[in-house]
Point group: C2
Chain length 343, copies 2
């Protein structure tokens, strides 16, 4: 079952909810987001036709902890839900990852839809049905594949995001530019207008994930920049998309792809992303942390090697099996140079 | 992907494990079962080709608690598993339900196989890919669909089961007799030889679940006897299959199916099941508990009705949508008679 991508001003959300074929609605909302947009969900009106139960999540990745998951699942079950109960998530990627895992596992799976409220979730987390919790050993290590029925987009919500949140989403947009030539060209001619770029990215990811839902083949290219990115995100505690940007830059630099580094620089300018020092400049270079992360990484294909995504040219990529020992050698060899490049 | 049902003396399990295409084996074993059969898993031999991590579960339904799930998932993740890691479960239905949910959600799903060690799990829980945890509100309310690759059967393990455990399995076998005429005839001519009956039941359930994996249609007939059975199991704390037997008897009695009650009685004799008082004889009749259970039941189709499985004649059944209020009326109306029938 594929997902419908729908442009919708939040002011019209009640009409959409009215149309859902259920008498039992489970709302999972990021607490902060609910303060801002809860007003559009007039519970009194919805309650005329449906029972509603609202669960508010804490901010960010804290949502995706085991204990939060249990509490939420027990809360909904306690209310007496049934198989036609329908879950609607509103929030960023952490909220939709979490809510999707709840929807995937409640009564062995109920239907759900998402209203993404961050740039990052509009172009990435809300699309493709990968849902997850975090474990102590790493992010997203517990999860399922469970596609939402609909993703509703209201670009106006972008106006209230911080520049850090916007930049995090742009990190994923940069990634898509390398995977798809159309997106690359759209971004170059967009003047940075995100409402032109978002639908392209969401549709690209959706098509790819429809083709390879369980990530046994082509879908893996979406991990471009993420293998190092995840390690960088954890070590330096920087936003996801920003870590992905550095993850891509590090791959280019490590394997001598100077052309592609140039392309990355050009795209960053179009997207109004200032030149920055790398997060490790005045800190330890993350060789050890990257290696420790790789060993536990889900994309590892056996205990010695890992699948890494490489870009041949804009729009063309390939997945190569690389020995962990080779990556470690390269990181150590080039450490002093990698350490100080600006982008 | 369908499941292979394989007859295998446990003494030969090492050969089978050797053949699994993985270098990382996660064993989930019922602690008591492991004391008895752990000797067949010579970890030193396995370790020549694979890393092994062993997680022992507590006995029975306690295994299926949230906290146990977390601890087990974190334990395996901590060890550094990967997508080709392979889980093998050995134990009864609680162990395989639990282990299957772990396999379904670790890294969004890894492959797994089962060695069922109770009669109940051989004919039911190990087949069909429904895996689950228990919530405070009820059994199996959190779960997934994740088929095992193989189920290995060693009928010798039945010899060490208690008569209560055997009876619990026979409750499910009785159920299959009403759903399938071949099984009915096999049982009648079996002289109670379980090694003749088990493969029929397992193959019947497997075929049905292959046809309707996510229980949107035909698979629902497997719930025959379970809707009331689950409530009876909880209230009187009796074994699952025994509760299912009383669940079927109650449906027959409630809807005046005296013929089928006679068939049930005849089958019980063949299977060497002694005549018993109902569990509620010197206790409260469970009308209130059944109703409370039905309201929370997963098979409820909306807030007023429930899908109930009825037997028209041996081998032919139908699912009817029944109003909860009607069931309550019938239970109250016939309470004094239902209360005292022996079977």
């Amino acid at each position: 079952m594929s997902t419908e991508l729908i442009d919708l001003p939040l002011a019209n959300i009640l009409n959409e909810i009215e149309k859902l074929d259920t008498d039992s609605l489970l709302l999972v909302a990021d607490g902060k987001v609910w303060e801002k947009y809860g007003k559009y969900f007039d519970l009194k009106i919805i309650q005329k036709n449906k029972k509603i139960h609202l669960w508010k999540t804490p901010e960010g990745e804290k949502t995706k902890e085991f204990t939060e998951y249990f509490s939420c699942a027990e809360f909904f079950l306690e209310k007496g839900i049934h198989r036609q109960s329908y879950l609607v998530a509103i929030g960023g990627g952490a909220t939709s990852d979490f809510a999707g895992f709840v929807a995937a596992t409640l009564l062995r799976g109920i239907k759900w839809s998402i209203i993404p409220t961050t740039l990052l979730s509009m172009v990435d987390a809300a699309i493709g049905g990968k849902v997850a919790l975090n474990a102590k050993s790493g992010k997203n290590l517990i999860g399922a594949y469970h596609s939402p029925e609909k993703v509703w987009f209201d670009y106006n919500v972008l106006n209230s995001l911080s520049s850090t949140e916007i930049r995090s989403g742009k990190g994923e947009i940069l990634k898509y530019c390398f995977l798809d030539k159309n997106i690359y060209e759209t971004v170059l001619s967009s003047n940075g207008d995100l409402s032109l770029i978002i639908p392209r990215c969401a549709a690209f990811k959706l098509a790819l994930t429809n083709e390879d839902f369980k990530e046994v083949g082509k879908r893996k290219i979406l991990n471009f920049g993420h293998t190092f990115g995840h390690a960088i995100e954890r070590v330096y505690n920087i936003p996801h998309g920003e870590a992905v940007m550095w993850g891509m830059a590090l791959i280019f630099k490590l394997f001598g792809e100077n052309n592609l580094l140039g392309v990355l620089q050009k795209l960053k300018i179009v997207l109004d992303w200032p030149e920055q020092d790398p997060p490790w400049l005045h800190k330890t270079f993350p060789t050890r942390d990257i290696m420790a992360y790789l060993v536990k990484d889900k994309k590892m294909i056996d205990n010695q090697s890992i699948d890494l995504v490489f870009i041949k040219e804009v729009g063309t990529c390939e997945i190569k099996k690389i020995k962990l020992s080779k990556i470690e050698d390269l990181l150590i060899e080039q450490e002093s140079e990698l350490k100080k490049f600006r982008l």
